[in-house]
Amino acid sequence: MLTPQTEKDVSEMIKGASEPMKIKGGGTRPIGRCEATQTLSTAGLSGIELYEPGALTIVAKAGTPMAEINKALTFENQILPFEPMDHQSLLGTKGDATIGGVVAANVSGPRRIQAGACRDSLIGVRFVDGTGTALKNGGRVMKNVTGYDLVKLMAGSYGTLGVITEVAFKLLPRPDTTACLILHDLDPTRAVAAMSKALGSPYEVSGAAHLVNKARTVLRLEGFESSVLYRLGELKTLLAEYGGMSEITQKDQAEAEWNTISSVKGFSAHNGDIWRISVKPSDASAVISSLPDNTEIQLDWGGGLIWAATPKGTDVRAAMAAISGHATLIRGDGALATFHPDPAPLAVISAGLRQQFDPRGLLNPGLMG
């Protein structure tokens, strides 16, 4: 195991490498097949470099554990806007998830519909490319259009374009309180319609999920208490046509509900393949119909994100071929590709980028691009 302690170490290790390497953060989100004979761990690149609560900004080294980030943010009553999920119960992994891993996989939770994805809050990145060159892009300010946006490119590139060594984020104040409105016994089509109506309202819904097997549709409101209660009342009136409702106004209970949804805890006992499917919300029902009957489904992002636990070997992409969107195989051991294939012109671009950033094919080969 290569265990660099500084960015310079990373650079030297890559320059001196003769074999491809697997890039590892906390190891809680293994994905796909990577053809490497050695592992480089970012665990040694750890620590918060700068935290300015008054500027809503944090900068941390890539291997900093999420627990450390969350602790610092909690102390100042702030949050990472995109609510990164913990994959451990879903994937049955154990470890200290790192902030660099969150960026590499562009991990974004339920609040994505309101506050954007990981890539939207990421404002700066340092990384070492496949030639061992240390590079930076973005910075620590919220608005920055100076040159090309490699910050976005690095988010979700799964370590295939470079080893991320440092990341900077913009933050949000932690909501004062959280409440849920729960709709009961809706089928997926009606549930998506209800969620769309809620998300099309001015009541700032910050989470909209539907647990298919429980027929439970959960809407989240966050903010100052009086405002949350006001909006809860308005939502109930708005959604009256959808029938049976209940609510959670206890902050702890509401947060626990969303923690379960965010980390897809409902799937933890499932031993089939796990897919993450991104579509237009109104296409969610069609995707569900195209999958085998014994598939477990959880909808998030108002129906735009479908978590599906399918029987092993189910070709979800073939099943949803007529629907525009994409599917990622989060866990599966079959012959199916991890990532949705790019359309031909984009595949050429992706391969070209990969060639520019990692000409020797050292970083997570076989995973992407």
């Binding site: 519909i113 910075g139 300010v141 090309y148 976005k152 988010a155 104040p173 671009i349």
Partner: protein
């Protein structure tokens, strides 16, 4: 700002190139008469002008593709153009280039409220995107101050922001998909009406690439439900430091205003003389706006005013009606016009960490004395995006150059304190040569390697973004 000398062999081939373009476009879509090409000689950075070889105004993605195939084949540089409102010279042509304007492509292609998106042709103006959905209670969030005129194509090219990005983000955070035509004419789709595109985030790379990677002809944009209401509070302080500390305290208190605007004394005085908004005569003025229902607004403004009082404001005025809101915004919205009444001005766009605000304002004041040029500051304080307005006299010999040197020093200062050269206007030609102050040679090189992948012949808007010396070998290739 220097531009590369035109390629004489292209100038010689003008007749042939125009004739070829006329085979794929209607006659009135190819503008080649020298009197008419002047209309395309500059954008909103009017200090620099050069008529193009010709301008084309295609009306479909397919026509754009045909144009690019011909230019690719002929080796002719192409400068994409939205509405020509760039303050950075992003759409400035060279004499050997073809301007590709998307102004005739301005249709709404699809509106979907259930899935909260709109798909438009990119020649459509920013404000008319909101215009297409506002009667149904929706809006498109990025709101650059040129929104009446600027096109979505240019917004995407520059990753434009606006006054409300503290809450809603900039263009890249509201862009879901594009139809991209590459320099060789290949048409491709990136992303779509769903969140998060597959594979590498090429959408994020395209947005803000200043028309150097491809021509975006259609865009899928996220639309949002309009808030129930919005109201500002105006507060005046007797120093920039105190105003800066107040901004920081508001943010730390857990309120997320939709906008925090800052004006310093020179701008306050200019706007008072021009618009008579009734602002207090003080060192620094903040306008903080929040959204929600009436009760929610009252609660948030109450909290914000409570924080402001701790900083002993010389004035604290909460709006209680649309008329009062308009009065508070009047001065801010006329700030640029007011400064323009005094003299010509250059508008900068550097961004700084919010904590550096007092120091940077103090330094700008000192530099203003050294250069002998007045400067006013009006900017989005919540996100640190400054807009120093340097006053100069365009008719006075050497004043423009002096102003540019002053501007460059301010931008270097922004970089020194941990910020960047441009927050929302883009690099264009204006900040091209300052890129070396923000980026190491390898950081610039990796960006140019990306252009190599998308546009190997370096024909798309080639003389922008990168210092000419840095890009020279590639452009010559």
């Amino acid at each position: 700002m220097e531009m590369p000398a035109p390629d004489a062999s292209i100038l010689d081939r003008k007749a042939r190139i125009v004739a070829r373009l006329q085979t794929v476009l209607p006659l009135d879509s190819v503008i080649h008469d020298e009197r008419e090409t002047r209309a395309y000689e500059c954008d909103a950075l009017t200090a620099y002008k050069c008529p193009p070889l010709c301008a084309v105004l295609p009306s479909s993605t397919e026509e754009v593709s045909e144009v690019l195939k011909i230019c690719h084949d002929e080796g002719v540089p192409v400068v994409p153009r939205g509405s020509g409102t760039s303050l950075a010279g992003g759409a400035l042509p060279t004499a050997d280039s073809v301007i590709l304007g998307v102004a005739r492509m301005n249709e709404v292609l699809e509106t979907d409220y259930d899935n909260r998106f709109i798909r438009v042709q990119t020649g459509r103006t920013n404000l008319s995107v909101t215009g297409a959905v506002e009667t149904d209670g929706f809006f498109y969030a990025p709101d650059p101050s040129s929104q009446l005129a600027c096109a979505i194509a240019g917004n995407i090219a520059m990753n434009s922001g606006g006054a409300h990005c503290l809450k809603y983000g900039v263009t890249t955070n509201n862009l879901m998909g594009v139809t991209l035509v590459m320099m060789d004419g290949t048409i491709t789709e990136i992303g779509g009406a769903y969140l998060d595109s597959a594979g590498y985030d090429l959408l994020g790379l395209i947005c803000g690439s200043e028309g150097q990677l491809g021509v975006v002809t259609e865009a899928t944009l996220r639309i949002l439900p309009k808030p129930e209401g919005a109201r500002p509070v105006l507060m005046g302080f007797d120093s920039n430091e105190v105003a800066g500390a107040c901004v920081s305290d508001i943010i730390k208190a857990g309120v997320l205003p939709v906008a925090i605007e800052f004006m310093d004394r020179p701008v306050i005085r200019a706007t008072e003389a021009f618009a008579k908004a009734g602002y207090p005569d003080c060192e620094a003025l903040l306008i903080v706006e929040v959204e929600g229902s009436e009760a929610e607004i009252d609660e948030q403004l109450g909290l914000i005013m409570q924080i402001a009082r701790k900083h002993n404001p010389v004035e604290l005025r909460q709006s209680t009606s649309p008329e009062e809101s308009a009065a508070i915004w009047l001065g801010r919205k006329s700030a640029f016009g007011a400064m323009g009444q005094i003299n010509d001005y250059m508008c900068l766009d550097g961004t700084i960490p919010v904590s550096e605000l007092p120091f940077v304002l103090k330094r700008i004041g000192e530099m203003s004395k050294e250069y002998g040029l007045d400067v006013g500051n009006v900017f989005h304080a919540g996100d640190g995006n400054m807009h120093p307005l340097i006053l100069f006299d365009a008719n006075k010999e050497g004043d423009l150059e002096l102003c540019e040197a002053f501007g460059a020093d301010i931008l270097r200062l922004c970089v020194e304190v941990g910020g960047c050269l441009t927050g929302e206007h883009g690099v264009g030609i204006e900040k091209r040569d300052l890129m070396v102050d923000q980026f190491a040679p390898e950081d610039l090189n990796v960006q140019m390697k990306i252009k190599d992948v998308f546009d190997p012949k370096w024909l798309l808007n080639p003389s922008k973004v990168f210092p000419l010396a840095a890009s020279e070998s590639r452009r010559a290739g």
